[in-house]
Subunit: 193 residues, 2 copies
Amino acid sequence: MAELSIDRRTRKDAQHNRTQILDVARQAFSSDGVEVSMDAIARQSGLGSATLYRHFPNKDALLAALLDEHYEDMLQKKTVIEAEESDAGRALERWIDALGDWMLVYDGLSEPLRAAWSRSNSPLKPTCQNVIDATDIFLRAAQGAGLAQPALSGRHIFLGALAVAWAGGTGLEDHGTRAVLRDMFKNGWGIAS
Amino acid sequence: MAELSIDRRTRKDAQHNRTQILDVARQAFSSDGVEVSMDAIARQSGLGSATLYRHFPNKDALLAALLDEHYEDMLQKKTVIEAEESDAGRALERWIDALGDWMLVYDGLSEPLRAAWSRSNSPLKPTCQNVIDATDIFLRAAQGAGLAQPALSGRHIFLGALAVAWAGGTGLEDHGTRAVLRDMFKNGWGIAS
DNA sequence: CCTGCATTTGGAAAATGGCTACGTATCGGG
DNA sequence: CCCGATACGTAGCCATTTTCCAAATGCAGG
């Protein structure tokens, strides 16, 4: 309903430009990381930068629009995990893995995500909150089964996964390091004596 | 010896300006984080920006000069820990804590540190390497005593500590989160079943 | 004390990036 | 087909890192 009224009032060229921007941005972020300039995206879209900013008031908003697409996938993964995995610990583990992958869809994505959740008015914040909420569900189940540290919250897990994604992200020649970091995130560096 | 020949050839005003820059930068980084502009540092030093760049070819070089001062403290801490702590696990823990503190001396320090170690020619790289080497010593001792995950290397610990510092760094209203993250780094989010 | 010259300096400017003001072009209903 | 609402692009602002070059300045030797 809301969509209809928007669509009806939005000019066709504007609609076309919007999807064009999203397509170009998706491609640009994928190949060059989130650090590509807005100017470059506008140029590749065949538009002036002001037009880009009219559709998305800032870079984070553009990023958020793209991430919301991926959030659909995340919801689906959530359903699949819940259906397939009876063990709450393994379910949480799979969810955290999915989280890590999500945070790596675009190179350098960790930065704006982290910045978003300290800044008060970032368009990325709702998206983060959704993911955190989903994480909380898996986490509490695992905690109930004694398979996750009881003091943690979904926010902590999110931050941890974000930190791992950040550290293991761009320019890490050694691919195995990523796996090691994830394992360290799950099990810690220490061994209880 | 090398210092003498440098000192002899370096003009007094240049020497003075150099220490002046370092003093101002130390203060500026401390109070405003590493994101302060080079221009601001130059201005507060009563110098033109070009002068600043003559002394330190880029921001990382300036940062590295300051961090090297702190590295002295780290070496001292290392000695103290080695002297006081007979348990290798606790020694490693204390070292990692020191590592975490070191990475927080300036706000936003994690960023350049991480960038440094993927970029090939960063002035910060040698400093990082020194810290990693020291970490390796503590780590191997702990591994030998069965108190740390055997698959890890000093580099992994360094990256992990960096990730924790990054995630728990700037703009984290909740101070307890930092402690939780450190604990999660040591023990993981999971509980072995 | 003076003087010549290498060294050092400062201000201006280039390159890049986020973002905006404003006049113009275009869409689409009547 | 026309006109107002809507969307557009140019040009530009501000901030940041870094570089260029002419002018100033310290210092060694006379």
